[in-house]
């Protein structure tokens, strides 16, 4: 009733702090000790198959349509200023720098993050994780770490596929349908896009997003209440928290990378 009751506020703050600390501890465990799970690559491979191969279709199709739309909108705007040759540059830069990593990460959170959370939440609800602990098997190493590393490996590849397919989509709309000169389209693009500054930073971004989305999904699953409502709430929170984190981090990373 009285939300401003000091003891309530203190409790809320403490529980939030405890959540943060728990998350940080889990992150450290995943990064430091989880790296040894890369030696048992079979587990990671299965997860790459699950996270990557099954996300490929949605990523590729979304990338194609984003490229189409960028081609159309960019053409209509650039044409007013008589510089529709710069369409290739516009499409490639916006995809490689921003849209590729961000939209791929948002799709990845929706497509793969939710299933990670639900899977681990249900494992927890079914007391499978406790059973593993009883057998002296560390569930963080056996269950969480392979999924974490699989997500980190998968995300940059998916973002690259998204950007590449998007550039092809822009080519289809701009050159094949609207009649921008193909030489100018590719030439302006190659002049303006730098390998390390643009493509490289895009890969760094998607790597960070992969880390974020997979970690949020795992944390929400691992900390979910072991009930049907708890798992459903954790799945929702995964999408919300991961999307917000991706968009916020994107701003920070952009400000750091392209400041000069």
């Amino acid at each position: 009733m009285s939300w401003y009751n000091p003891s309530d506020i203190g409790f809320a703050v403490r529980s939030k702090l405890a959540d943060l600390g728990l998350g940080a501890r889990l992150f450290l465990r995943l990064v430091l000790r989880g790296a040894s799970s890369l030696k048992r690559f079979g587990l990671v491979r299965d997860q790459i198959h699950f996270l990557g191969n099954y996300s490929l279709a949605i990523i590729a199709v979304s990338g194609l349509f984003v490229g189409f739309v960028l081609g159309l909108q960019g053409y209509y705007t650039l044409q007013r200023y008589g510089s529709s040759e710069a369409l290739g540059l516009l499409v490639a830069l916006s995809l490689v720098r921003e849209l590729g990593p961000v939209v791929a990460a948002l799709l990845f959170a929706g497509r793969a993050g939710t299933s990670l959370t639900a899977e681990i939440g249900l494992m927890k609800a079914g007391e499978q994780l406790s059973a593993m602990e009883m057998m002296a098997v560390d569930p963080v190493q056996r269950i969480l770490a392979p999924r974490f590393w699989a997500g980190v490996i998968t995300m940059p590849l998916l973002a690259a596929v998204f950007s590449a397919v998007g550039v092809l989509g822009g080519y289809v709309v701009g050159v094949l349908m609207l009649g921008v000169d193909a030489g100018a389209f590719w030439g302006q693009m190659q002049n303006g896009v730098d390998v390390w500054r643009d493509v490289g930073n895009g890969v760094v971004k998607s790597f960070v997003f992969g880390l974020t989305v997979t970690f949020v999904a795992l944390l929400e699953g691992y900390e979910s209440l072991p009930t049907p409502e708890g798992v459903s709430r954790a799945t929702t929170r995964t999408v919300v928290v991961a999307s917000l984190a991706v968009l916020g981090l994107d701003f920070l990373l952009t400000a750091m990378m392209f400041s000069i």
Binding site: G42, R45, I48, H49, G52, N53, A160, V193
Partner: protein
């Protein structure tokens, strides 16, 4: 190590991702034209470089022969000192001159290098002082207004005499 059917699919996925990265690097960025050719560095002094940036092209007769390496301000003679990395396979006479030009009306700026007549060629570390600065639109308008005012200043003076 045991092989499973998933290996093939995961391998295919990684291959597609690598191909996408390669496509981005080669087709939409400039990895191939990123010259791994050897270059030699020459410094040029400009009074005003306008909107010149590092990595700007240096062109001779319209062909890219090098890039701008770095731009610094020299507070001894208050000029910009621009370091150019010219490709080793091209050599230019020692008295070549540089101009800052603009491609098209609104295009980006580049440095044009015009060959001189000297027998000796530019060496690494040479300084070029025969340069022409970037055209600054404000100065141009200022000069135009000034000359207009000088022309048009006399008729009112005559009218006063009447």
């Amino acid at each position: 190590m045991q092989r499973s059917n998933k290996d093939i699919w995961v391998g295919l996925f990684v291959l597609i991702g690598a191909a996408a990265l390669l496509f981005l690097a080669l087709q939409s960025a400039n990895l191939l034209s990123l010259n791994f050719q050897r270059t030699y560095q020459v410094t040029a002094r400009f009074d005003n470089i306008g909107g010149l940036k590092p990595q700007t092209a240096v062109k001779s007769a319209g062909v890219v022969v090098g890039r701008v390496d770095s731009i610094t301000f020299d507070d001894k003679n208050f000029q910009a000192s621009v370091t150019l990395a010219l490709q080793s396979r091209y050599s230019f006479p020692k008295d070549s001159s540089l101009k800052i030009l603009t491609s098209g009306l609104l295009g980006e700026q580049y440095i044009g290098i015009e060959a001189g007549a000297e027998e000796k060629n530019l060496q690494a570390g040479d300084v070029i002082t025969a340069t022409q600065s970037a055209v600054v639109l404000e100065n141009l308008i200022g000069q135009f207004l000034y000359s207009k005012a000088a022309e048009g200043g006399s008729p009112p003076a005559n009218a006063n005499k009447k």
